[in-house]
Amino acid sequence: MFVTYLRRELAGRRKQTAIVAIGMALAIALVIIVNAVSSGVQLAQSTVLASVYGVGTDITVSETPAAPTEGEAGANGPQNFDFGAEDGATTDGTTTVSQARLSVDRATTSFDSAALDTVSGIDNVTAAAATLSLSNTTFDGALPERSTTDTGTMPTGDDAAAGGTPPSGGPDGAGGSSFSVDSFTVLGLDPADEAVGPLSAVTLTDGRSLERSDAGTNVAVLDASYATTAELVVGDTVAIAGTDFTVVGLVTASSADAATASNVYIPLDVAQTLSGLDAQVTDIYVQAASSTDIDQIQTDIEAALPDSTVKTQADLASSVSGSLSSASDLVKNLGLWLSLIVLAAAFLIAILFTISGVTRRTREFGTLKAIGWSNGKIVRQVAGESLVQGLIGGVVGIAVGLIGILVINLVAPTLTAGSATTEAAGAMGGPGGGFGQAAVEATTSDIVLQVPVTLSVILIAVGLAVVGGLLAGAIGGWRASRLRPAEALRSIA
């Protein structure tokens, strides 16, 4: 009887069934899509993070930058290129000068590498690696030769500094000057560390990676896309701080779209020597024994190294910027609220329609009670109807949701992600006056959003359909159970 009655009721009241089911279907489709997009965005975020920080990295440690002391031209001050009178080479009335600097980014502070031992000694740390993040800036200038209009004797340094007759040489032949500044990022890392750190998440596309025996030698591994821009291949040399390095390998991020952490990778000890930062590092990458240890390790490192900034993957995720981060925010805020509101509306529609259905069927249920149907039997009937309406909505909703996900994956929207690791602007003072330039570009990458369909999303949808149906059914059933059997005798007015 239960099944017959249920079937007849749903088929006989198609409009009510359709409205409740459609409301439920819309809500469930939305929940599925929002949920799936949200995990797609998270996936993209972890892809970006993995390519920048390495796969196994749970925690990074860096020094909290201190404000530079007034008047102190330290490593973090503006970069000055000073040229003496004898610097440069002169041909055809033009003096060309070139200088390269390898230094720590302005936003970064280096610290004693002894911190690595401290970190390695902390409980539940399985691996730790220290790196020195530097940027190499090359200044090339061409300026008029100072002595061409002079008396014919080579000027002494003092004479040149004192000035002379107006210059006529230079690249434009009229005493003008031209300067160019080129910079790229250099990461010094211990070639012996392979488990954790920036190079743990990259794919070798050509040559070889850095090896233990590379310590102390002038070899470099390049980010493949940087190598393309700089027109460098394996076997070429790249000048870092005026020293030639042999390019031994090219790497790309494991996920095709993201960039790697740095343009150039060289052995840590060489980087320290070249930059004059002996036994100094800028970042420590830490791998935890298990994800449950991360909080403890973070606390312990902060206690052991009070000046340090300790970031977990969760903190790192918030450093991903760009449209990926906007998408993430959008999904988290708008998507969540929208699906909650639509879900609440759908539940409300289901409840209201069930209640109005029970009210309309007062005489029907009164009659059934009068001929001996128990309350339980009637409640089961009402709840069963709502549950099936919810489930129909659930099935339709899952179908619509899956189609929505399919459409998103076919459209495959591209998101740009920047990881805010190396954003700093450097002001440089040169002979031609002060000018500013963005010293290091933020690492940006394009990620194609791929939305995964997971079993859990489907289960959540089915669960919501059941909950919605049962909620409406429980409320409707409760109303029906309170009807008096004497309602059956009410004359039809």
């Binding site: 009887m1 029907e364 059934l368 128990s374 004497a486």
Partner: protein
Amino acid sequence: MYQLTNVTKKYDQGKRSVTALNKVTLSIPDGQMVAIQGPTGGGKSTLLQMLGALDRPTEGTVELGTSNLSKLGDGPLGKIRAQEIGFVFQGFNLIPTLTAQENVETALAPLGIPAAERTARATAALASVGLGERGSHLPAELSGGQQQRVAIARALVKEPAVLLADEPTGNLDEQTRDEIMELLEGLWRDRGLTLIVVTHDSAVAKRAQRRLLIKQGVVKEIS
């Protein structure tokens, strides 16, 4: 056998209280056909609710056989209705989405009767009211008289001891009214039911063995 003793039923309507039945004492032997007449609002339906275990009196006792209906809870009252009492209503009260056959089967659903037996008994009940061919029709596809026959089949399929009818011919024309009354009378005679019919219609009431008049909640015998 019904035994009503000092039955009073009051309805609270806000501050006012309506006395629908006022100290009614009445006994109805098994197998009797009783007509209940009276002006509108006199308390006919209220009395039928007491007899049909649909409601409990405010005061007094209602006994059906050995059961005291005024003391039983909702569950036991429901069981008595399911087993002992058949109802026929003025408005037919069929479930609009169920077929005639299924409507008759609803009366057997609370009795835990297996599906096959349910179907057979419902088919037989429909045949006994002259609707053997109409089992698969929805109520909306049947005339008023046919709907009331389905309702009578639903009331009788469980073979109750008592059949209660509240204005069973109130919505029917004269011709159909007589057909339905003849059907009810025939069933009463054949099955030895107690048949209690509430009616405005003297033509209907005249067929009964015994006639009661209810005015302002007070019952009088009409001889």
